[in-house]
Subunit: 258 residues, 2 copies
């Protein structure tokens, strides 16, 4: 997983506002060209979920959600807009925790996250539609694969794409980046059975590779008005292959924190 | 938190084996000099917990732990060596989950982690002592502060030190780096109240800054025989201040996953 040289995280400046009429790949390629960034063997392009969702037309009007009785009940518990709760439930498989101001669910994609990853920051209002929300991409692995197929320079196999989102965490304050979609790069690197420095077989050695890449890139991206939604992580050593973000999800039967 | 230039993660090669007679600061400074790395304003030096613990003499012989009846009971549940379980309990405040092969505790420092962070990989055996284990540093924030005070070049205020460890996570497979000690850098950056791109006040915007720095650095460090225990993260924008790693720990009363 490691090499010997430094790792670089390049922030991609100069992307225009992304909307449902944007070709995200063309926009990223154009911004790279303007920044004189040419993808190299081993580069991992990390793309914030927000612009993927926007390009895929995942913006919704809050008014389009008609709360079910269950959503109304839950909205009372968590002290949130019942339409938003209806939207969260429609994107989820299960409610994991619901207390005032906190609604943690298992998203249909399998990620355990607050509000099913539905975003209200940095979503421009659509005039008469009233408040808008942004859903996760329908299939972030497919989104990542499509970007990888088109961004990968001819003859360069080892290009990765990670779709990142910011997740809160149990026990710890503050969000970090998480990989909700991957292409080319592994979600998890399994090092079990390898020997450590002293020849002892290593114990817990599955590494959350794509999540760590997302965390590093999100650190570079920022979250506020200065947000940069694409970063290129260069200099990591990894094996290209066919992977899904769900490879990094624990089997519910073996999870102790549901 | 973000700037405009790239972020670099420099891997510090050439550190000797660290033991209780090592002056870790001298060793790190020497390796930096040999690698022609001079610390710059904004640099964050990330140091793996293992070498901090070794330099602070936190290696213990497993035989020195005499299991209590409670440790023996728990060892049966989790299917681990009762001496190891005694060591884990002696480093912990509370058992969070105990099932076969998994023992998750609240460490005395407040971190919720497997086996109280006790390490058996990359710990050289001490001859007749039999198996050895490595405890976390007694006070990782103090360890970080000591390193920062001595590594910081004269007149450069914004140098940070993070002591990192690899943590498993609920719901997700694979470890990522976590900050168990900080000096100079904030554990959490609070962006609540700032405006997003569209002038809307941001919602969840506490960022796990030091944990993300640790995750990025651990990606560069590796875990196996090729491990590099020090990395320098360069190019992030942050405010220097007095912080503790415990600033990043959620109040137990407000935690939903204990």
């Amino acid at each position: 997983m490691t090499g010997i040289g430094p790792i670089h995280i390049l922030r991609l400046a100069g992307l225009p506002m992304i909307g449902p009429d944007s070709d995200l790949c063309v926009e990223i390629a154009g911004a790279m060209e303007r920044s004189a960034i040419a993808l190299q063997d081993g580069d991992i392009v990390v793309v914030a979920q927000k612009i993927v969702s926007k390009a895929e037309g995942r913006k919704r009007a809050l008014n389009d959600y008609v709360p079910s009785p269950a959503a109304r009940d839950l909205a009372g518990t968590v002290n949130k807009d019942a339409r938003l709760v209806e939207a969260v439930l429609s994107e989820s498989r299960a409610v994991i925790r619901a207390v005032p101001n906190v609604l943690i669910v298992e998203h249909k994609l399998g990620h355990i996250m607050a509000n099913a990853g539905i975003d209200q920051s940095n979503v421009e209002a659509d005039g008469a539609d009233g408040e808008t929300i942004l859903l996760l991409p329908e299939d972030p692995d497919a989104s990542a694969r499509a970007l990888r197929d088109r961004l990968r320079p001819h003859g360069v196999e080892r290009i990765g794409v990670v779709i990142s989102d910011s997740f809160g965490r149990p026990w710890r304050i503050g969000t970090t980046g998480i990989a909700i979609g991957v292409a080319g790069v592994p979600a998890v690197v399994d090092r079990r059975g390898e020997q450590d420095l002293f020849g002892r077989v290593m114990q817990v050695t599955e590494v959350g590779f794509a999540d760590a890449v997302a965390a590093a890139a999100c650190l570079a991206m920022g979250e506020g008005a200065e947000a940069i939604p694409v970063a290129i992580v260069r200099g990591l050593d990894w094996q290209a292959g066919v992977h899904d973000a769900s490879d990094g999800l624990r089997d519910p039967e073996r999870d102790l924190f549901r």
